[in-house]
């Protein structure tokens, strides 16, 4: 008989059971428990810790978007930071006149439009060329922002503090308030991400990635599917950007430049391309690494390892990002999500061995 708490065998008899998200009640329960922990977490964390948590969740959103374009659809995107930037600048320009629950989705839509435009060449060309198109978009974005007076030429554009009904968000509760907003958005968008593969649009993405000629023959339009992938990935990035703008209360071009795009790619790879859990593990891993890197650089400095003309701190960041990308690709291309998969499979059958 089927045991609803442990997966003791394959009892799937129809298609619906095969696409079910939760194999056992235990998994559903652990997800609810995890969400409860996330909701309660702010009670135990200090203000700086909250900021780190917020940061991880915002990055996770951008990486979710990247996992749609690069993970599901197989299109390398070296311009994710620019899409995040489109969302952030849209939110910054609209913030004085509109409430935040409008500017955030509008920021996402603006980035989605940008994604669609960048994806236009995919009507004619294949993935290698598309990677270069995203790079061009990244550079054109940086230049345009740097030369627009309305965007302060890349300098800081401040965002006002927000008011929600009668609740004023000030210095003390800023990170706590945004934590819940971001958490809500993350849960909704992660849910959408997980369910994307159960819709025909999501399946079309994977089909086009695996063999676009076969997908074409099956009646999908590879070009439009790729544009859709770019637009959807852009939407996630734009929402992340708008939230990041509110979170940091200022928009500066440095947060949306090429090295940041590479950071997002590193996060996606470390987490595991195309994996929902990986989209959270990757950013968490790299953000925590980033924080410890400053300590590491200071420690190296205190050892007297730094010499004149060399700034170890500025060397550590690209060095570790590069190393992490390369090592993960060579030794664990499936990323941290693979470790998670092993753990999960263990508990699926627990207490049985198999």
């Amino acid at each position: 008989m089927r045991n609803p708490w442990a997966q003791t065998g394959n009892y799937r008899t129809d298609y619906r059971q095969d696409t079910a998200i939760f194999a056992t009640y235990l998994e559903m329960l652990s997800l609810w428990a995890f969400l409860a922990v996330l909701l309660a977490l702010p009670l135990f964390l200090s203000r700086p810790q909250m900021f780190v948590l917020d940061l991880i969740l915002v990055y996770a959103l951008a990486v979710l978007g990247l996992n749609i374009t690069t993970g599901y659809a197989g299109l390398i995107n070296i311009g994710q930071a620019a899409f995040v930037g489109v969302g952030a600048y849209t939110a910054a320009l609209l913030a004085p006149s509109l409430p935040f629950w409008l500017t955030v989705p509008i920021g996402g839509l603006a980035a989605a439009v940008a994604g669609g435009i960048v994806g236009i060449p995919s009507l004619r060309i294949k993935h290698l060329y598309l990677a270069i198109a995203t790079l061009a978009f990244q550079i054109i974005f940086e230049w345009t922002v740097g030369h627009s007076t309305i965007l302060k030429q890349g300098g800081a554009i401040p965002l006002p503090r927000v008011e929600f009904w009668d609740y004023r968000v000030g210095y003390k509760n800023h990170y706590y308030f945004w934590y819940y907003v971001i958490l809500l958005v993350v849960v909704v968008l992660a849910f959408a991400f997980r369910n994307l593969l159960r819709t025909r649009f999501g399946r079309a993405l994977v089909a086009v990635r695996d063999n676009d000629r076969a997908a074409d023959a099956m009646g999908m339009h590879p070009g439009l599917t790729k544009i859709f992938a770019f637009a959807l990935g852009g939407f996630y990035a734009g929402v992340a950007g708008a939230l990041y703008a509110y979170l940091s209360r200022a928009v500066v071009i440095e947060d949306y430049m090429l090295p940041v795009s590479i950071k997002f790619l590193a996060m996606a790879i470390v987490g595991g391309l195309g994996s929902l859990v990986g989209s959270f593990l990757g950013p968490a891993f790299l953000v925590l690494l980033d924080l410890n890197m400053e300590d590491l650089a200071n420690w190296l400095k205190s050892l007297g390892l730094s010499y004149a003309g060399v700034d170890i701190a500025s060397a550590m960041r690209p060095l570790t990002f590069g190393l992490v990308i390369v090592l993960f690709l060579i030794f664990e291309p499936r990323g941290l999500a693979n470790g998670w998969r092993l753990v999960r499979n263990f508990f699926r059958n627990w207490p049985f061995k198999y």
Binding site: T70, G74, I76, I78, I120, P121, R124, I125, K126, H127, L128, Y129, A131, I132, A133, L135, A136, F137, I139, I140, W143, T144, G146, H147, T149, Q153, R213, A214, A217, P259, I262, L265, A266, I269, L273, A308, G309, V310, D311, I312, S314, A315, M316, R317, P318, L319, T320, F321, G322, L323, V324, I325, V326, L329, I330, P333
Partner: protein, 297 residues
Amino acid sequence: MSYFLQLLVSGLVVGSIYALAALGFVLIYKASRVINFAHGQFIAVGAFAVYALAVYLQLNVWLSFGIALFFTALIAYIVEKLFLKPLVGQPIISVIMVTIGLASLLDGLIHLTPFGGGNFSLPRFLPEGGVSFFGVSVSYPQLLAVLLTALFLAGFGWFFQRSTLGAAMRAVADDQMAAMSLGVSVEHVFALAWAAAGITAAAAGFIVGTVSGINLESLVAIGLKVFPAVILGGLDSIPGAVVGGIIVGVLENLATGYLDPLVPGGGTAEVFPFVILLLVLWFKPHGLFGTEEIERV
């Protein structure tokens, strides 16, 4: 008119740098279908190697150039053996990601040397002044840049047409399976393509050093400008890389000359090549000389 000619000449100089850089890029792409995002870092390695040898060790500039060529080729060779060989047969995404990671890694390593920030200029080894043709003055470093590029292109042309190794590399680029079955070591050719790319990168870096100062950011930026050049010329065409590089260099200089006054803040040269890139991708995706891929199921 003379303003136009002056822009054209300095564009040719910049274009010849791009042409050399693009040549190395296309060599790697043709041999192994790898898009190398770390090319700018190789250019930087070459340029700083020349500088370190010529300034710190007080070697003759030409001698240090020769050593730097060898050194950069060696680094590119090792990089291929260490990082790209384990990924042969993996999906193309992983391979491209590795070069992105590599770019970041090399960036960090360069930051560990004194060359991470600031400007450096090679010791002056050419006479002051220059020559002038038809009212356009060309300085000796600029002249050297164009001549050196021509020399390298001729050298590589000879290498690919006449030498056994060059023929083997062309064979691999044409059909890996056929080349393998005829006894060509594909592994060896991949590594050699990277070494050759390292040589052209070092040459490009040296030329940048003679024409202007070197700093990490601008050298890495050249690695990015390679993309408009190769897309314009066609990703898999060596003559295309050269022509594309020169066209991009000239257009960039014309943009500086004619568009900068119209744009507040100027600096159109940084972005103009990428606008061209997008236009080419939209309207003529395989570039001027690239082979159009015809797919059959």
